[in-house]
């Protein structure tokens, strides 16, 4: 399959910079799959599991949240807030974060200012565990 240049960056590092065959990532409107020769495209990212297939055909799974995906002139850039490969995820920590977020949510009212924040935290924790498998 044809490959294209993919860059994945987060504020603290360049996560991936190389040729990829396929990228599946969750945008705010649902999952999209980017293959080679994709039309120019831009979308804000949601919180979800991402899959990157490199030129050798190996697929790696990651937890990805926030930021933006942009494709221009056949090159894709994933500008993510967090992007962690499955093997980097600390399952115990994620489970812990899930519990903490759940407790926090239970104690809060729906219109609380921090409600959305806690909700996002819970979502991230769940996605991390999902990516870890």
């Amino acid at each position: 399959m044809a490959a294209y240049h993919l860059q994945i960056v987060t504020p603290d590092r360049m996560v991936f910079d190389g040729q990829a065959e396929r990228l599946i990532v969750r945008t705010v409107n649902g999952d999209v799959c980017i293959l080679a020769r994709h039309i120019d495209y831009a979308a804000p990212l949601g919180i979800g599991v991402a899959r990157v297939t490199d030129e050798k055909g190996d697929t790696r799974v990651a937890a990805c949240s926030g930021g933006m995906l942009s494709v221009s002139k056949g090159e894709a850039r994933l500008i993510a807030t967090t992007f962690e490969w499955a093997d980097e995820i600390d399952a115990e920590r994620a489970a812990h974060a899930q519990q903490a977020a759940e407790e926090k949510l239970r104690a809060m009212q729906k219109d609380d200012v921090d409600y959305a924040l806690a909700e996002a935290k819970l979502k991230r924790a769940l996605i991390r565990q999902l990516a870890k498998g």
Binding site: D12, V28, D40, Y41
Partner: protein
């Protein structure tokens, strides 16, 4: 009399020596911190460049629309995000930043979001309105803290608390030179050289809406990289300052030692003269 001055000089030598020990230690600490800080800075660079390009493309697209993060509005009040150090003794590092703010603000009323203990203290003393006083530590400020910071800025901006946001930070150019950078964060200034407006791009959402969504994320990334950059500059400035302080102390010690020896020689000569004079009588 010569004896007393000898004692004075000896005391001064000792005090300069202990100062030199401190400056030397600080220099070593700065040197060891520098490597890690530089690494962090290098790692934060790709995000800054890539997100800037994407941001510019999105901004160019919604130029003619009324988007809060892009469309300028009359400036009643400005916010300065000021990145300074946690400690002093870094040459002109902190004062240069404050000078840049003072030179830039003019007559427009402003509030400040100070990062770094020195900045908090400075603007607290001046009685300027502070957005938050929680960010006294600049070293090892995590990405997630930067997100909170970015939300603080965007929320305030959208609520109309201020109409322009400027970032004053220090740019690391080399070990020898760091320069102050004053740049506008919000509303996003449109690029001077017109980015090619790619109308064919498919946007998952309206560009304006998308921009609103990702702006805090990009801002956080921008702040993070500016913080990394400034911290490297701080450490480099401190290393330089401590290096020259150590050198100066060394020079002072050799000067004082010379004076001490002269005084000692003078005292001995006087003693001999007195003894000889006594024998002749």
């Amino acid at each position: 009399m010569a004896g007393a001055s000898m004692k004075d000089i000896k005391l001064r030598i000792r005090s300069v020596e202990s100062t030199m020990q401190i400056t030397k230690a600080m220099q070593l600490v700065a040197t060891s911190k520098l490597r890690r800080a530089k690494e962090r800075m290098e790692n934060s660079k790709p995000y800054a460049t890539v997100s800037r390009e994407a941001l510019m493309a999105a901004v160019a697209r919604c130029k003619d629309q009324n988007v809060p993060f892009v469309t300028p509005r009359p400036v009643k009040k400005r916010l300065y995000v000021v990145i300074a150090g946690e400690r002093g003794l870094a040459g002109g590092y902190n004062s240069n930043v404050f000078k840049a703010v003072a030179a830039h603000c003019g007559d427009t009323p402003f509030c400040v979001l100070p990062l770094g203990r020195k900045a908090i203290e400075k603007y607290h003393r001046m009685g300027v309105e502070l957005l938050s006083e929680d960010y006294s530590r600049v070293e090892n400020l995590s990405v997630s803290r930067c997100y909170r910071l970015a939300h603080l800025v965007t929320d305030g901006y959208l609520a109309g608390k201020f109409d322009e946001v400027w970032l004053v930070s220090t740019n690391f150019r080399s070990m020898m030179s760091q320069e102050i950078k004053t740049e506008q964060l919000l509303p996003v200034p449109s690029a001077e050289e017109e980015a090619p407006r790619n109308v064919d791009t498919v946007y998952e959402m309206e560009a304006a809406e998308a921009l609103e969504k990702v702006m805090p994320d990009f801002l956080a990334g921008r702040l993070y990289s500016a913080l990394c950059d400034s911290f490297v500059s701080e450490v480099a400035a401190r290393r330089m300052a401590m290096d020259s302080a150590t050198k100066n102390a060394g020079a002072m010690i050799s000067d004082l030692t010379l004076r001490y020896n002269r005084a000692r020689q003078g005292a001995i000569t006087q003693e001999i003269t007195e003894i000889v004079a006594g024998a002749e009588e």
